[in-house]
């Protein structure tokens, strides 16, 4: 079983009356609310936290891409990953990921992921999300009706760029390049493992399965609601006739560990409120651009986790409701262990991404949560799925070959 520490990098100083006064936390959240000096502190603290997670023994550290978003300050996760590639040496660097349809030309992703894989000694997980509707349609102006076709073309181009040893021409509908010739090529062969975070389209399930990629559902609504999506995925895998190796699947869960259940509420409850009340205050009009979800997906009744329905479901919830509803797994190490074992089995996932930082959780509590999880929870669950091989984890260079940063002006 693999555990990954996931950072969203939220802005922590939204005004108290943010959700009453402002239209949305995403897309049109006015940038005058962002104080760059506070941002300086947050970015540096957040990198410290990811580094601490790597030292604490998490299998991977995760960053992702959001735009014009006060709960995710990473328009470019690759910048964070580049920093982490230098300051960590063992953990997988899980970039989950780059919205490949947005890059023009998309070989930019092949190049930057190539650089990250080479710098990190082959520790990169390459995430290829379609991207949320807020990010791709509203912030970056991609046309919803053609988004998925454009995504697939970008994917084909990147894979060819990574795997073909000679220059080639690419005559696509969305990208035309006379000379594709990738420098630097990634260390991992044939290319870094590809994870596809999804939730917006049922066609993605079999597309991922057919290509032997990993599928992750990044849910903020917890495992109870995540079950529908993951069941859809496993049914599609079953239908394709490939094995149901749990490492094909990943899931994101908010987790809060303390010495006791009561302590967990005391420590974390206000920050959970910040996360759900402010960070997820998304205008329903931005949740789901017409054409973003496919007709088949709408017919299947799959709801956007950012839409009006999800919003009304969460309205007025408090700590106890979040725990009972499975949004957050929280409590003493024993409580969390027991529940996560159930989550892992129910969703049948070999990769669990932990949101151990949420909302405006301060550094000391984040490190406490991370430390308790690493010492008191993770070791007890590591042995799960040991009968399966994880083919979706980076194959990095051996420890002897991985370069360590040396202080400037010194040599080893």
């Amino acid at each position: 079983m693999k555990f990954h520490w996931f950072h969203l990098m939220p802005y922590q100083e939204l005004p108290k009356d943010f959700s009453e006064k402002y239209h949305s936390v995403w897309v049109d959240v006015p940038s005058h609310l962002f104080d760059p000096v506070a941002g300086h502190r947050f970015y540096n603290e957040y990198l410290d936290e990811l580094e601490f997670a790597a030292e604490s023994g998490f299998d991977g550290i995760c960053v992702n891409e959001h735009h014009q978003n006060a709960y995710g300050m990473m328009p470019s996760p690759n910048i964070m990953a580049a920093s982490l590639a230098r300051t960590t040496s063992k953990a997988a660097i899980v970039v989950l990921g780059n919205s490949i349809a947005l890059y023009n030309p998309p070989i930019r992703v092949a190049e930057e992921f190539g650089m990250l894989d080479v710098i990190s000694g082959g520790r990169l997980v390459a995430g290829f999300p379609v991207g949320s509707s807020m990010d791709v349609n509203y912030c970056y102006g991609a046309t919803p009706a053609t988004l998925r076709e454009k995504y697939r073309e970008a994917h084909d181009l990147i894979i060819r760029a990574w795997t073909e040893p000679e220059p080639f021409a690419f005559n696509g509908k969305y990208t035309q390049l006379r000379y594709v010739n990738l420098w630097p090529r990634p260390i991992q062969k044939p290319h870094p493992p590809i994870w596809v975070p999804g939730g917006g389209s049922i066609e993605t399930w079999s597309w991922v399965g057919e290509r032997d990629y990993q599928y992750s559902y990044l849910s903020y609504s917890g495992y109870k609601r995540g079950e529908d999506v993951m069941k859809g995925y496993w049914d599609a895998i079953d239908h394709l006739g490939v094995d149901n190796n749990p490492y094909r699947g990943g899931f994101l869960q908010l987790v809060a560990v303390a010495d006791t259940d009561a302590q967990a509420e005391k420590l974390y409850s206000p920050h959970i409120d910040y996360f759900y009340d402010k960070c997820l205050h998304i205008a329903p009009g931005f949740a789901d651009a017409p054409g973003y979800r496919t007709v088949a997906t709408i017919k299947a009744g799959l709801q956007s986790q950012f839409g009006s329905q999800a919003r009304s479901l969460r309205a007025g919830l408090k700590w106890k409701d979040y725990i009972d509803g499975g949004f957050v797994v929280a409590g003493s190490p024993a409580t969390v262990r027991e529940q996560l074992k159930d989550v892992i089995e129910r969703l049948h996932v070999g990769h669990l991404m932990l949101l151990l930082h949420f909302g405006d959780l301060p550094r000391d509590k984040t490190l406490h949560n991370t430390d308790l999880f690493a010492r008191e929870v993770m070791p007890h669950l590591k042995g799960m799925w040991s009968e399966w091989d994880d083919k979706w984890f980076p194959q990095s260079l051996g420890e002897q070959e991985v370069q360590q940063p040396a202080a400037a002006g010194t040599s080893r």
Binding site: N137, P144, A145, G285, P290, G291, V295, I298
Partner: protein, 261 residues
């Protein structure tokens, strides 16, 4: 009674639902982002002197072929083909919103194919000072509030169809998603796709019709279009929003008939 018919074009690449009625000179109606699910009764006002055809555009309802259309050039060529297939010679065209945008493009690309042009709150231009409501970023209830001069009246008069059963609700969600997705294929994220560079080619006499309370394509766009299309005239319909032919059918039909006759 209007006649419903499905027209097949380019060896079945397009299957287009059409409704037609009346006899006389040819008149084509191109609907806007709301789509078209049957003969609109306000077109009855024209059937005495015109043969009126109202196609449902590819990607709306059950009309197919959207995959073959990527741009206004594709749309214009498609409609020129359709006009020929319908046996309409130099029709007058009434186009609403997106339909007006297509009609203007078509008339710029082939000025000889159109007799007269009626553009009802057409999209196709952009004004930073008055962009209009982003219809792609609002929910269905918000849409009802902004689309009409008198939203409550529109609901009472049945201009807004409110689904009752679960099946109707599901169908409505799907219909709306398809319609707006199709419109977005050509209008996303800003509807200016270069019409202002081509509109000088339009030679057909042109009437610009605007609901005075239009919040989607505000009336401030009327003078912009008038400047681009030589000899065009503007008619403002009071107490109407984005769909004056539905909210004020009497005044609308009278003004358009006077222009076409």
């Amino acid at each position: 009674m209007a006649q419903a018919k499905t027209i097949s074009l380019r060896r079945g690449a397009f299957k287009i639902k059409t409704w037609s009625a009346g006899s006389g000179r040819p008149l084509l109606y191109l609907h806007g982002i709301d789509g078209l699910n049957g003969w609109p009764s306000w077109l009855d006002g024209f059937t005495g002197a015109w043969r009126v055809v109202a196609p449902q555009q590819p990607g709306f309802g059950s009309s197919t072929g959207l995959d073959h259309l990527e741009s206004f050039l594709d749309l214009s060529l498609f409609y020129l083909d359709l006009i020929e297939a319908l046996g309409m010679e130099r029709p007058a065209i009434i186009g609403h919103g997106l339909g007006g945008n297509i009609a203007a493009e078509l008339a710029a690309i082939n000025p000889h194919a159109v007799d007269k042009l009626v553009l009802v709150a057409p999209t196709g231009l952009w004004n930073d000072e008055d962009p209009g409501v982003d219809v792609f970023a609002i929910t269905e209830p918000e849409m009802t509030k902004i689309a009409w001069h008198d939203p409550e009246g529109a609901v009472k008069r049945g201009l807004v169809k409110i689904p009752k059963t679960d099946n109707q609700k599901r169908a409505a969600i799907l219909d709306r998603a398809k319609a707006l997705s199709t419109a977005g294929k050509f209008l996303w994220p800003i509807p200016d796709k270069g019409l202002d560079r081509r509109a000088y080619r339009i030679t057909a006499p042109t009437l610009l019709v605007w609901g005075a309370s239009d919040k989607i394509v505000p009336p401030s766009y009327a003078p912009l279009f008038r400047k681009l299309i030589a000899g065009s005239k503007v008619v403002r319909i009071p107490r109407a929003g984005h769909s004056p032919m539905l909210e004020q059918p009497g005044r609308f039909v009278a003004a358009v008939k006077e222009f076409l006759t």
